[in-house]
Amino acid sequence: MSDVSLVFLYALATALATGLGAVPFLFVREVSPQVVAYSNAVAAGLMLGASFGLVSEGTTYGRWETLGGAIVGVVFILITQRLLDGYDEEKLIFGAATGESARRMLLMMVVMTVHSFSEGVAVGVSFGGGVELATLITAAIAVHNIPEGVAITAVMRPRGVSVARSGVWSVVSSLPQPLMAVPAFLFVEAFRPALPWGLGFAAGAMVFMVLVELLPEAFHEGGRRSVATLVTLTVIGMVLFQRFL
C-alpha cells in the first residue's frame, strides 16, 4: 500500500474513533436540566484541556503564530455566531430541535469540525517524518478523539439527538482529519509553517466556545461548586490523558 493511502486510512480510523465518544451516553437514562448543566461542564473541561494541549504543541512551532491563530479563531466564531443569529428561530433546525438549541448544536459542530482541519494537518505533518511510528501516532490520536466525541454528544444528547446520531455527528466533525492529513503529509514543508496558526485557531475557537456558550449554560442550571469541580476534574483528567499518550 502506498504511504499516501496509508496516511489516509490511519487518519480515517482516528476520525471513526470520535464516534466512540457517544458510547458513555448509552448509560445516561433521563435528561434533566441538571444533566444538561453537568454535560456542558464536562464538555467545557474536555475542550479546555484539549485546547491546553493544542496551545502547548502550537507554541513549540511558534509562540506568536499560535497567538495569532487563536485571535483568528475567536473572530471566526464571533462571525459564525452573528450569521446564525441572523436566522429566524423556526428556520434554524438541527435534528428535532429548533431555535436556541439548534443554534448551539450547529455552533458546536462548526467549532469541532474546523478544529479537525488543524488536527488533520498535525497528523500529516507528524507522519511527514516517515510512517514507521504510524501505528503508535494513530492510536494516540484516535484515543485523543474519543473525548471530543464525548464533548459533542454531551451537547447534543440533552437536546434530544439520539446516541447513535450523536455518534455519527461526532465522526462527521472529525472527517476533515483524513482530508487534511494527506496533503499535509505530501507537502510537509509547505504545511509546517501553517501548523502553529492552525493549532492556535483550533484552541482559540474551542476556548471561546467554552467561555461564551458552555460555561454560562452550565452555571444556569447547575450548582457552581459542582460545575467548577467537574470542569477542574475533566481539565486535569484530559491533560494527564494527553501527557500519557
Binding site: 450548582g223 461548586r225 467548577a228 470542569v231 477542574t232
Partner: protein, 245 residues
C-alpha cells in the same frame, strides 16, 4: 535574571504582588461607584489571568512527574472545597454590593485571604521551576490582584468603608501570599519531590476558584461575549508572556 538571593527574590516579588492589590481602589477613586458591567469585566480579567497561570504551571512547570501533579491537583481541589466549607464561605457571591449583613463583610475579606494563600503556593512553586518563570507568574498574579481588589473595594465601599482603608485591607488580605510563597519555596527546595505536588495543588485550586467564584457572577453582570473575550485575552497574554520568560 537577578543576582538577588533566590529566597529574597521570592520575598520581593510576592510582596510586590501583595502591594499591587492596593491599586484596586484606583478605578473607584477616579470614577466613583462602578457600574455592574465593570465588576463583571474585573472578575473576568481576574479569572483569565488565573487560567493563564494554571496553563503555564501545567505545561511549563510540570515537565515530568505528571502523575504527582495530577494527584496534587486533586488535593488542591479538595482542599479549597473543604477550607471554604469549613469557614462557611462556600457558594459565596463576591459581588453583593447591597448585602449589608454583618457576616458578609468578614466573609468577603476571608475568602479573598484564602485566594491569596493559593496564589502564594503558585508563586512559590513557580519560583522553584525557575526564577524567571516564577517572576512572570508573580507578575501575572500581581495584575490579577488588582481587579480582585477592585471587586472587594466595591463591596466594602457600599458598606461605608473609606477608600484608603479599603486599599490597606486589600494589601493586608494578600500578605499571606508572601508568607505562603516563601514557605512553599523553602520547603520544596529542601524536599524536591514535593514540587510537582505543589504545582498540581496550585493548578487544582486556581482552576476551581476561577470556575466557582470568579466566572459565575460575571456572566450575570455583563454580556457572555464580552466576558468570554476579556477572559480569553487575559489568558492569552499570560500564556504568551509567562511561557516566554
Amino acid at each position: 535574571m537577578s543576582d538577588l538571593d533566590p529566597t529574597l527574590t521570592v520575598l520581593l516579588y510576592s510582596s510586590l504582588a501583595a502591594f499591587t492589590a492596593g491599586l484596586g481602589i484606583l478605578p473607584q477613586a477616579l470614577s466613583g461607584r462602578l457600574p455592574m458591567r465593570a465588576l463583571g469585566w474585573a472578575n473576568a480579567l481576574a479569572a483569565g489571568l488565573m487560567l493563564g497561570v494554571a496553563y503555564s504551571l501545567l505545561y511549563e512547570g510540570l515537565s515530568d512527574r505528571v502523575l504527582q501533579g495530577g494527584a496534587g491537583a486533586l488535593l488542591g481541589l479538595l482542599f479549597v472545597r473543604l477550607a471554604h466549607r469549613g469557614t462557611g464561605v462556600q457558594d459565596l457571591d463576591l459581588n453583593r454590593l447591597d448585602d449589608l449583613d454583618p457576616a458578609y463583610g468578614y466573609q468577603i475579606v476571608l475568602v479573598n485571604t484564602l485566594h491569596g494563600a493559593y496564589e502564594g503556593v503558585a508563586i512559590g512553586a513557580a519560583m522553584l521551576v525557575s526564577l524567571p518563570f516564577g517572576i512572570s507568574t508573580a507578575l501575572a498574579l500581581a495584575v490579577h490582584n488588582i481587579p480582585e481588589a477592585m471587586v472587594q473595594t466595591a463591596v466594602l465601599e457600599s458598606r461605608g468603608v473609606r477608600l484608603r482603608h479599603a486599599a490597606g485591607l486589600a494589601v493586608a488580605v494578600n500578605t499571606n501570599q508572601v508568607l505562603v510563597s516563601v514557605v512553599v519555596f523553602v520547603v520544596a527546595r529542601a524536599l524536591p519531590w514535593l514540587l510537582p505536588w505543589a504545582i498540581g495543588f496550585a493548578v487544582g485550586a486556581l482552576l476551581y476558584l476561577l470556575m466557582a467564584e470568579l466566572l459565575p457572577e460575571s456572566y450575570a453582570q455583563a454580556g457572555h461575549t464580552s466576558i468570554a473575550l476579556v477572559t480569553l485575552v487575559a489568558m492569552g497574554i499570560v500564556v504568551a508572556l509567562v511561557g516566554a520568560g
